[in-house]
Symmetry: D2
């Protein structure tokens, strides 16, 4: 006699292993297992809904993902418009620039002798090494570039667009900054002052006091206006940090000026932090609903996993399963060349929040 | 001019996404990224070395992996002899038995109202549900089986072999217990008293005071003798807990009686616990070397990940990449039908540790 | 104008620092802060309710708490009857025995060279060292003791009582085993086979095949009968593991035979594991309600913290604030000297679950 | 016969519980236990060395510590000069301002129904609630204040000084911003654009396009110059995030211009993140040495704990044990009233890094 409880509807299907399974099929077989494997499969499904759902998709990337080998996945996601707007830490952009300029990160050990590394001027990121000397050269390169710019404040969004353009012209190489430039995908870096990109900019200031002015308050306004202009949004967050909060803040700030904004319709986060210590990085997507960062009927999932495991699998699965949705998708068209960006040919307002005539 | 530091030898290769990637290739491309993605790829490589390395491979499984949809992966690993001996929590065997008997676990929500579930007699494991009524029927089924056995103490190893045999005869269905029975792979369950398997056994005792005697001290002796008989060992641990320690303990106990035993030659653990709280589940494999649980030159890796993400990917990759090694492998042959097991036709000693004539 | 929302009732009170604050007052000031600090203060309050609430209080201890310097706190909690029944891993009892016998653990480093430690036969537990030679002597001492016992199976509860008695007679020293012996507090160790205590017992078996029989199935029955006899129970769990599950299992098993049992009335757990990987160690107390391990109206709290920080503070606070409750408490009186324990002078049944005449 | 190994020198001393223990004594008794309890006691000792060591002490605060009830501890640490410079997330300053203005956070539940909260316009931070309406009023209040300022760019440091001054003049109430103002302790907020403080500033820009310019690149320069001027530094980090990196970055940037800077001499971090996912929040202090963020002979400790448990205990202990060191301390004297701060009466350079005549 079958159990009649309303709670017992969909049985768990044990994962069957076979030789030759594709990444796509591995994720499909995770849909009916449990715990974080199921959450990862759910994330794939929600991302596909974003792609079909006429949303502006924000992608947030924190941690040391570029140094960790994820930068070409992120570039791929921007190029093919799995996402329409990137919010990043400075570190991820800096390490991307480092490799786009032809330098490398190196396979290392988490149990290295750090005094020996310091003596050799090697900087360690967990199990990955880089040359401090090469990092200093990047800083100089950034400062040189900043000094070529007109002397006025730049939002991080405009600055990074121009940096991507310069980098593409100089290297013709793939990477996050160059892919975003070519795909006209805006990048916001609200905590740019807390990164080596900011350090490079500060060295331009050192050489010329009128150089290197980044207008991060302008970033708040532009990002909120992007939401006001296209109130259907979605959020994919890899790793928490300032990108997660900035994406949510844009939604909250936009709603203040336009009540048609109602929080993200879809949300995926892949995090290792947990909610119970109260920090924003680990905060749950349920909590985000109390703030209106997320619509109360949003489809959402949190995947508790290291991005360097979850993202290669997820992106590989999507590359197979989402190709038709991507082909059918009409992503928003941006023009990023000016001090404020234009959406479908119409510029966002500068220095003020767009107020809708309702 | 290339950087000359000895630390900068092997560059990180950013992961390239393409449509149609197989699980095998996803893991291969993780070998040169960083953080836990690289660790997972390293785990694949070390497991392949175990398969080629003439080792007795111990597999430990903790957590709620069977309820979580991993039981047929574990069965697959035993059937094809990716591992030669299983150490498990009782929960994983009990939930396996539940499904092998044709009952199911169900897809649920981690944010369910647990009072409602209690009222409906639904038991929750994070995001997975099961019927308490069906669990009670399992307990009765186990008690009935126990009462068919001759009245004498059984090691958990012998008891689980007979349980698997009975289950196979009754159901003919795939699962951990039945796969282990058919492949003559021993299962140890040192904490059987802390599980529903133990509860079922205790209900047999309730019906007949002379029934249901499990000799867990005998398990210590038999597992150590297995190591003494074949001193080259390897360890794959999914999730920590008692299986992790029991596998290591067998090695330490064996070395006490035979100094040719020198700790596991290879070790892989996939855990979510961390070392810094001092518990055995999260303890590092480096620490295990201080105890001699691991050879000091062992190849080892810890993957910090949920098993329900890491194992489907890892097992799918191995199914492709390890097939030739598996075909060439000559795993140890066990006979499990007696009170003590036989290795290559020669029984292990009973009630004493094997002492080698050196 | 005050905010009228029903959700905004009790304001957070920022913690005020002053010189000379007692542990008691520190915890009191945590009652109105947030996150895990508040949870710790809540744990103190719930433990006080247990002491006033005519419950049998189970205490579970996992991890390496004895090696970590917590054993005299646990002894203190048993002696003064903050708890009435201990469920422990074997490791905590073994490391307790080691120190009660006059040996020591030592302050070490988590970044030690483990090959050097192995060469010196030093065993490491994160940042703590011990002598392997002394551990081997403990094993011999345990085996010698086992050989003095009558040749019959012993539950872990009875065995540990006799071990504590022998240890007290030999050393007269404070510790968990000796305090439990003197306070007639039962100790269950369901996973005794997965510990050095079990290894010592197995060495007695090696010397005499009729020695060293531990009846862990009997432990299931005796622990459930303890709950049936006194159906009001409470649970304090430090660190998850087998003790957490065994305490809950006793309640579930008891309810099977007596429907007046309704799950623990109060529950506190101090854990570092998290729920979202599905393992029992990290499972939430809400989830425990679905199983009936906890009454659906139970007062409960989870503290996400390392026990070595939380317990010294919590126990020191209770030593001041709970003294009157302890003085007024009438804990259950046990007699542990026989094969089954007696509660208030009346033995529990042997080899069967107590069925109530209702 | 005592064990002679060089590794076995300092025995673990089990913690003894007694009624009436002070916080100071609780921490002292943790010095000889293990795991994170010992680490917390070590943190107290290292902080005392910082106080005696003629260092500029940086304090970093991330997470939601102000909402969580920690703001008056932080204020206390600044007022009494346990630290000389604060680096904070915007959230901690915003929630501080909220309470200093007389509003409150409220005790809530982590399992609240967030749709209900959203309907009531209640914002949740894990187990803590606040009124969204009151938050909007704060934003207006900040915008009003910004519009009183001269129209020129302000570093976050200068801006927050003026904000603290205004808040003190208006409320006369204790808090982080007002304590820092009165004690002339600089506050840097490099990610100010990722916070409600930034949102308030952006609303001033909305009203007047020439208002609300924050010069975060100037913050990089001023913070590095602070290190160049006083090259002996120490770092206490609560919770990771941008403050942790910014404090380290100041040291790295300073060293670029003055090779007498050699990284922090002392470092304490209290974090819940872990190193193995590669993010900066969880990165180890050993790793920081490879970058030169920390001197290779620095005394340092990581405490893996929630700040809301560790900090009340640690600060209460220091309030007793560090009083003489504090009385004897001669902290650096800053004047914060200008666009760049002065150290001991001598202004730091503006728009350039100070280069030492060596």
């Amino acid at each position: 006699m079958p159990n009649k409880s309303r709670f017992l509807r969909v049985p768990v299907e044990p994962f069957h292993v076979e030789p030759g399974l594709g990444a796509d099929e591995v994720v499909t077989r995770m849909e009916r297992i449990s715990f974080q494997g199921r959450s990862l499969a759910t994330a794939r499904g929600i991302w596909e809904k974003m792609l079909s759902g006429d949303c502006t998709i924000f992608l947030g990337v924190a941690g040391a993902l570029s140094a960790g080998g994820m930068r070409l996945i992120i570039a791929h996601l921007l190029e093919r418009r799995y996402a329409d707007c990137l919010v990043s830490t400075g570190a991820n952009l800096y390490h991307d620039l480092h490799e786009t300029r032809g330098r490398r990160h190196f396979v290392g050990s988490p149990r290295a002798n750090d005094a020996d590394l310091q003596a050799d001027r090697i900087d360690r990121v967990y199990d990955t090494y880089a040359s401090e000397q090469e990092f200093c050269e990047n800083d100089d390169w950034i400062a040189d570039f900043v000094l070529t710019l007109e002397r006025r404040p730049y939002t991080s969004r405009e600055f990074l667009y121009k940096l991507g353009e310069h980098l593409w012209n100089e290297t013709g190489a793939d990477g996050i900054l160059t892919a975003a430039y070519r795909a006209q995908v805006p990048i916001f870096c609200p905590a740019i002052a807390d990164s080596s990109i900011g350090m490079g900019v500060s060295q331009a200031r050192h050489r010329d006091a009128s150089a290197g002015h980044i207008d991060v308050i302008g970033d708040i306004i532009e990002s909120a206006n992007l939401v006001i202009r296209r109130p259907r949004t979605a959020s994919v967050v890899l790793g928490g940090g300032t990108p997660k909060n900035f994406i949510n803040q844009a939604s909250v700030q936009a709603e203040y000026y336009d009540d048609r904004v109602g929080g993200h319709r879809y949300a995926v986060q892949i995090v290792t932090d947990v909610p119970h210590f109260g920090g924003a990085s680990g905060s749950s997507l349920e909590e985000a609903q109390s703030w209106g960062k997320l619509a109360s009927d949003a489809e959402q999932v949190t995947v508790h996993a290291d991005v360097t495991i979850a993202l290669p699998l997820l992106a590989s699965a999507l590359a197979s399963s989402a190709s038709e949705m991507l082909a059918a998708r009409r992503p928003p068209h941006f023009d990023l060349s000016g001090p404020v960006m234009a959406v479908e040919g119409r510029p966002l307002p500068e220095a003020r929040f767009e107020e809708r005539t309702k």
